[in-house]
Each structure stands twice: as structure tokens, then as C-alpha cells.
Amino acid sequence: MQSKFFKLWGIPIVLGIISLYALISALIGGVVADTIANILLFIPVFITIKNYYKSKY
């Protein structure tokens, strides 16, 4: 049951937390926080592109 939930929602939840953290930390923090946030925000973009081109169904 638990693994089924994580299989479905695991990646979306992790990406959601990463995005939320990045969006807010860039607002509060200085240049370093901005840089980390920018890198973090590229993760969902990268994962989308990778999955789209990797899919061979």
C-alpha cells in the first residue's frame, strides 16, 4: 500500500518540495540562495525533458 503510494506520488511530491523551497529561498536569501534556487528549479525542467524523450511506449 505504502510503496504503491510512493510509486505514484513520490517524484511529484519531491519535485513539489524542491520547487517550493527554491521559489521561496530565492525571495528571502541573497546571491548564494538565488544560485542554489536556480539550479534546483532546473530539476523539474530536466526531469520533464528526460522523461519525454526517454519514453518508448
Binding site: G16, L20, G29, A37, I47, T48, N51, Y57
Partner: protein, 378 residues
Amino acid sequence: MNLKTAKRWFSWHKWTSLICTAFLLLLCITGLPLIFHEEIEHLQNDFEVETVGGKQKMDLDRLAEIAESKNPGKHVRYAFWEKDEHPNQVLFDVVEKPDAHFEESKYILINEYTGEILNEPENEGFLYIMLRLHTDMFAGIPGKLFLGLMGILFFISIVSGIVLYGPIMKNFDFGMVRKLKSKRLQWLDTHNLLGIVTVVWLTIVGLTRVINTLSDVVLGLWQQGQLAEMTAPYRNEKPPEGKLSSLNEAVKAAEEKVPSMDVSVVAYPGTPFTSKHHYAVFMKGNTEVTSKLLMPVLIDAKTGEITDARKMPWYVNTLFISQPLHFGNYGGITLKIIWAIFDIMTIIILITGLYLWFARRKSEIRSKKLLNQRDHAK
């Protein structure tokens, strides 16, 4: 989730999306150049004034006179500074009456050292059209509020989309895109993948958008709340006539009152951002967060003395914080590029969604037709 519940969520997702899709497409398309408005403006006209060591800046009252002499019969009602981005220059907004519509404003950008007029920016051009289409579709406050309503529908569509993601994807791996089966499945999977990956960004940009559309409501609340409280002793007094006290002294007094902050805007008496009796000098902080917030220092425009200075209430600060979160202008050019990528992803979500509705409708009509033909044949 049973089928009936899923159908109900689907119906919410379909209708809320259908109603707001056209407007969201407009917002995404017009928003794209607006993300980079600073860079585009910089390319179009670049007026930088170097800091001159040891040289005094001119008296602000004199600079205001220069702006007014350029527009006879008109008076300054706002003065703006952007000390970090464009130091040593002040932008005056000049009109006939302080409560005139913003489209009547003339803008004069002046070098604070020499008094030289650097530019007279106008409300026109490509970016201005994009901005108006994006904020109110040239329909003023009703247009703005209407787009806010579309934002609420968009939020419902996001929530229902998340709920539907579960039953649709429960037997599949994350990120699956069925490209070899049918176009409809490919577009459905693309819609689901992009939707779930961008969901936090979509929600934040969508909700801050709704808050931004309430700016006039927030202004009204502030006028009737904090501003009315601060100016209560003046309620029954006559507004000052003739020459107002010095602008230069007003800014100086405000800077002395809150030395940790810089002047950002001065609103003249009679404008919506102050009373009929006061200059409102809005001060901006120096840290990442406080630079997005403003603090009003009210200065009696007859005597030049400080009446009151307070931090803004929570609902105004919420609006101030919502602005960068919507614009994406708080993390340098890289964040703006990310904003643009997410914006384009949103456009793809909208178009795939529209296609899915269209394809589904077509297949529904076709199957109905087939059923009818079969009935006739019997």
C-alpha cells in the same frame, strides 16, 4: 476513488479549464515578453548616470520645477526612484490634477546631479500593450478583477487536475509518455507530465496573480484603514492652499526618521496614496525581503513636519510579496529564463488540454452517430 467521484472531478477540471483557457493563453503569451521587460527596456533606452564623488545632487524642489516647466499648467504628483537599478535619477509623474487617470500622466526622467532631462517615457509601444493586455485587457479595474476570477478558476482546475492525476497514473510509471500508441494518448501523457511537474510553480504564479488583481481593493482597504488612522487629526481641516512645503525637506525628514531605508516613491497631497494634507514618502528597506516592502512616512505639506510613520499592514505586505513571486524578477536573469521555460510549459499544458477536450468531443459525437445509425438499421 470510485467512478462517480472521478467523473465529478473530471467535470470540474473540464469546465473550469475550458472557461479560463483562452484568457490563460493570453496571459502566458503576453507574460512572456513582460518577464524580460527590464532587459528589453534596457536595450531600447539606456540612461545611466554615474555617481560623481564629491558632487552635490540638485535640490529636489528645483528638479520638480524643471519637470513642471516642461509641462506648463501641470504639476508633479509622484516622484519615483530606483536607487539600485538606476541610481542618480528621478522620475516625475506630472498631471493637471493629482487624482487624474494614469493615462493622462506625463513622465520626465531627470539626472539628479545636473537637472538634465534624460527621457520622457510614454505609455505606448509593444511592452505597454503587452502589460495592459496582461493586467486588465484595456478594461480597467473590471478587466483586472475579471482576470482575477479566471485565476480562481485556474486554481480549481489545478486542484482537480492533481486529484485526477492519481486514478489516471496509478497503474503507470511516473513520466510515461505513450508516443507510439495514438496522438491522443501522447498528448494526454504530455499534459499529465507537464501538469504534475509544474504544479507548484503554476499554483504560486496563479495565486499571486489573483492577489495582484486585488491591488485596488488592497489600496481601498489601506486608505480606509491605516491611512485614515494616521491622518485622523486632519479630517476636518482644509487642504493646504498655495505653495506646498519643500519636497526636498520632506524626503530629508523621512530619511532621517528611518535612516536604514531609502526613498522609493513620494506621493503628493491629494493622490490616492496619501491624504489631501500630506506628502507620503514611501521608504524601501535594504535587505532581500524588506526591499520589496514599503513604509509610508507622512509629512504635513503645510508645515513640513512629520505626522506619522508606520509599517504597512499585513494585507499590503502580502500584495508586495506577491508581486515578485508573480513576476519572477527576484533571482537574476537565470530565474527569468526559468520563468519563461515554465511559461512555455504552461502554454503546452493549455494547448494539449484543449486538444484533449476537442478529441474527446469528436469521438463522443462519432460514437453517438454510430449508435444512432445502428438503431436505425435495426
